[in-house]
């Protein structure tokens, strides 16, 4: 046992469960952020595993959940529910808001307020409020991915923006990014495993995030994953993971198409059509200036056209700020999911490779199958189980998200037409009143 047991396991202490839970390592996190987490310089190495394997941190929730998962496998009714404890009440609420610009001699950047409300015992206080910048979110995501490689970590909005093309400090950009960061954090907080990750805890609570050491480890970790997997070829991917891969490919393609269509519509609507419509409205105004009886009707039409232009602008703003970013985010999400699938393939490939080697040796000189090979098998099974559960959850969330996204799009379009219709209808009333006025003054 290493110094400083893995967080959250103080109460359990059962080695067997520990092994099941942490297929990829038994060593603790050597470095952690924040002043309230002890830093251990030691790394416990298990025989058979190469250096610097990524570290898995356990949590009490996943221990019990994993047990219940193993029991639930044959239960169809239970499968229909969220195996991640739909009966459990939510006890961690996070929000990202209040963007502020910081100007220093070195750089200018934006920070966001991250507010937390929780009843979890892992947190010392029930409420927290810290300020974080994009870099910090990026750090958190990398940490989560590395420490929980079998789980799907939600994506972040794109990191790099071309200077000169996009204004990083414009209200729209900051607002869009903030919404995406809020969504990211909420998804993490809702995840039954990720939400107990100590990095998340640090992110939400620490005054200053000490991230530098984490980055150094990151590069080592990245290499080691490659080393582990290198050289093993996958024999037979289980059908369901093939299906997942195919689904993701097609889905990603369709989303890309939808993105292109939406962009095209945006261009046609808010650049081309809107420009011509504005010009069209001014022609009515100009004409009104040289008419007497027709002045009011012509001005009226010009006014309706102007109102329609305003409504069109609102619609376009919505599409570019709410619709497109969510679409793009899902495309990123799909990419990270594909990565996880690839990782799963690698783990399976390693197992198969090792097994084959071990079997050959056994045949040669009756060497028993080493324990590491069994551990690999466990790894594979756990990864598959985690992935399947996450996949189900991801599909459910995807359905909700897209339902919301598309109904939102429909609502915005309806709202545009309603505004325009209202303007034209009030003009009709005006004009028809005028017509009766004219008729009565004629007969008089």
């Amino acid at each position: 046992m290493s110094v400083g047991a893995p967080r959250g396991l103080a109460s359990s202490g059962q080695k067997l469960i520990t092994e099941i839970l942490h297929p990829l390592s038994a060593a603790e996190e050597p470095l952690s952020p924040g002043p309230d987490v002890t830093i251990s310089a030691e790394k416990d190495k298990e025989p058979g595993l190469t250096n610097g394997t990524p570290v898995e941190i356990s949590s009490p929730a996943s221990a019990s959940v994993l047990l219940s998962r193993l029991q639930l496998d044959g239960d169809p009714e239970a499968d229909a529910h969220d195996p991640f404890g739909s009966g459990e009440p939510r006890d961690l609420f996070v929000t990202v808001d209040d963007p502020k610009k910081h100007v220093s001699t070195m750089e200018t950047y934006i920070t966001y307020r991250v507010s937390t409300k929780t009843t979890r015992i892992e947190f010392d206080l029930p409420e927290y409020s810290v300020r974080r910048r994009y870099q910090d979110f990026d750090w958190l995501r990398i940490k989560l991915e590395d420490s929980q490689p079998t789980h799907l970590v939600p994506p972040l909005p794109e990191k790099f923006v071309m200077k000169g093309v996009v204004d990083r400090f414009s209200e729209e950009f900051v607002d869009t990014r903030m919404k995406a960061l809020d969504k990211f954090l909420k998804r993490v907080a809702d995840h039954p495993v990720l939400s107990f990750n100590p990095h998340l805890n640090a992110f939400l609570t620490a005054k200053d995030l000490n991230k530098r050491q984490g980055l150094a480890l990151l590069t080592k970790v990245g290499e080691s994953v490659k080393n582990v997997a290198g050289g093993y070829k996958l024999r037979a991917r289980p059908a369901e993971f093939c299906a997942m891969g195919e689904y993701l490919d097609t889905f990603s393609q369709k989303l890309g198409t939808i993105d292109r269509i939406a962009q095209r519509i945006l261009r046609e609507q808010s650049a081309e059509y809107l420009t011509e419509l504005r010009e069209y409205g001014t022609v009515y105004s100009t004409w009104a200036g040289s008419e007497e009886q027709l002045q009011r009707p012509l001005e009226g039409v010009a006014g309706c056209v102007t109102t329609s232009c305003g409504a069109l602008e609102d619609l376009s703003d919505n599409m570019s700020q709410d619709f497109l970013p969510v679409l793009r985010e899902y495309i990123l999400y799909i990419e990270s999911m594909k990565n996880v699938l690839r990782k799963r393939d690698q783990v399976q490939a390693e197992y198969e490779g090792r097994l084959e080697a071990a079997v050959l040796r056994k045949q040669e000189d009756r060497t028993p199958i080493p324990v590491e090979v069994e551990k690999c098998q466990d790894k594979v099974e756990c990864f598959n189980a985690d992935l399947k559960a996450d996949w189900e959850r991801w599909q459910r969330n995807k359905r909700q998200d897209f339902k919301q996204l598309l109904t939102g799009m429909a609502d915005k379009n309806i709202s545009y037409y309603e505004k325009s219709q209202a303007a034209w209808e009030s003009l009709i009333t005006l004009l028809q009143e005028k017509q009766t006025e004219d008729k009565t003054s004629e007969t008089n």
């Binding site: 010009e279 022609v283 034209w424 004009l431």
Partner: protein
């Protein structure tokens, strides 16, 4: 009762006549005081047909003919339902009639014909004269022309108009025999020359400027509308792509599949709806085009008056100079420099007999000149009076018609909005079922 019948019958089979107010009754401007022909005769341009034949230079050509139908109003009023008399006319014959009327009534704003060639065409609209939509809109425009002419207090009495409506063969020859062509040609030449009028008619000049403005505004509006139509078309059609991709996407989904698929159909419907929307808008464009042409007609009336005025001034000038010549001859005093005067001084005056002959000739010419000036003054005044009366009538008609057109346009926009709301609501239902 007659008035009611006119309202009822004259709407005919033409639902889109822009002369009908939104409640189906005929526009007031059709029934001005003294409108004669239309009260006696129901007129319509009922159909269009393609014909093929050899033209004047023996070349095979395809053209369209329009069926002009007429029925006596009194027979209808008495409850009989006689079949209409009818004859076929080409667009060129309508043009001939109009040109004849313009020359015969130079002080009247003659109603315009629908456009000869399709103009202000947004890119998906056909510019082909043979296109059925174009032909249909032209049919409506030709009927509109006839109804306007036949209800005009002055124009409706014209004999050639009556024969146009009733005499299929030999009508063209009859019109040519009036000799109007020569008058038309000389007028055209005169009008295209630049001339300055010394004392222009203030109100008619103002009207000319107004007509220039009307022309410029309506053509600007038509151009801008064409561009808007093009863009609107693109926006709607791109949404059709959603239809396809939703359908493809639905194939890989389980629970979401049905909702997506149905939503896709609605997106297809949305994309398709723009064709009808824009076709309907063409009728609005046609109303604007009518007044674009009307503006030209108003300008022509003003210009012709200017020409009359100019000719009057020329005649007056001529009379004055002849009178001066007479005075000079009589008194021997040369007031103004003239070559004759100089030569007289140099080579001596002419013999008294010659002088007397000249004086007599001059007296004749002066008498003629005075007659001419009197006639032209009367003509000019009459022209101005009649022109102004018709222009006032035109202004009232324009205000009513264009207001009506704007109301109809607003109704079209409302209809478009309602359709949009319907489609997106349907799509939303489908999304909610996802």
């Amino acid at each position: 009762r007659m008035a009611e019948d006119v309202k009822e019958e004259s709407v005919t089979s033409n639902d889109e006549s822009d002369l009908a107010a939104s409640d189906g009754s005929l526009n007031n401007t059709m029934l001005t005081e003294g409108s004669c022909l239309l009260r006696r005769m129901e007129i319509s341009v009922a159909e269009a047909e393609k014909r093929s034949g050899k033209n004047a230079v023996s070349i095979q050509e395809t053209y369209t003919v329009y069926l002009v139908e007429t029925r006596p109003m009194d027979a209808i009023a008495e409850g009989h339902n006689p079949p209409p008399d009818s004859l076929w006319r080409r667009y060129s014959e309508f043009e001939l009639l109009r040109n004849y009327l313009i020359v015969t009534y130079p002080y009247i704003v003659v109603p315009p014909l629908p456009e000869k060639r399709a103009e202000f065409v947004w890119h998906k609209l056909s510019a082909d004269n043979m296109d059925p939509d174009f032909v249909e809109r032209r049919r409506i425009g030709l009927e509109n022309f006839l109804l306007r002419v036949a209800s005009h207090p002055v124009l409706s009495n014209n004999e050639m108009l009556y024969h146009f409506l009733t005499k299929e063969h030999g009508w063209k020859e009859m019109v040519y025999e009036t000799g109007f062509q020569a008058k038309a040609d000389s007028r055209l030449r005169a009008l295209s020359a630049t001339f300055r009028v010394r004392s222009p008619h203030k109100r008619l000049v103002e009207m000319k400027h107004y007509s220039d403005g009307l022309q410029s505004h309506t053509s600007q509006l038509l151009r801008a509308r064409t561009r808007v139509a093009d863009r609107l078309y693109a926006v709607y059609k791109v949404h059709g792509n959603y239809g396809r991709v939703f359908s493809e996407w639905s194939a890989i989904e389980k629970e979401m599949g049905d909702g997506l698929q149905s939503a896709g159909h609605h997106m297809d419907a949305y994309a398709a709806s723009v064709d009808d929307i824009l076709e309907e808008e063409e009728h609005y464009a046609d109303q604007l085009k009518e007044y674009l042409s009307y503006a030209e007609a108003v300008r022509a009336v003003c210009r012709k008056h200017e020409l009359s005025q100019f000719e009057l001034e020329m005649a007056s000038q001529d009379l004055i100079s002849k009178k001066q010549q007479r005075e000079e001859l009589a008194t021997g005093i040369v007031r103004t420099f003239s070559l004759k005067g100089m030569t007289n001084k140099l080579f001596g005056q002419e013999a008294p007999e010659q002088r007397d002959a000249k004086l007599n000739l001059l007296e004749e010419l002066i008498a003629e000149g005075e007659e001419t000036v009197k006639e032209k003054t009367a003509e000019c005044d009459e022209h101005a009076e009649k022109a102004w009366a018709d222009i006032v009538r035109f202004k009232d008609q324009k205000d009513k018609d264009l207001q009506e057109a704007l109301i109809n346009y607003a109704l079209m926009q409302i209809s478009m909005c309602k359709k949009g709301i319907q489609v997106w609501s349907n799509a939303k239902e489908c999304f909610l079922k996802m």
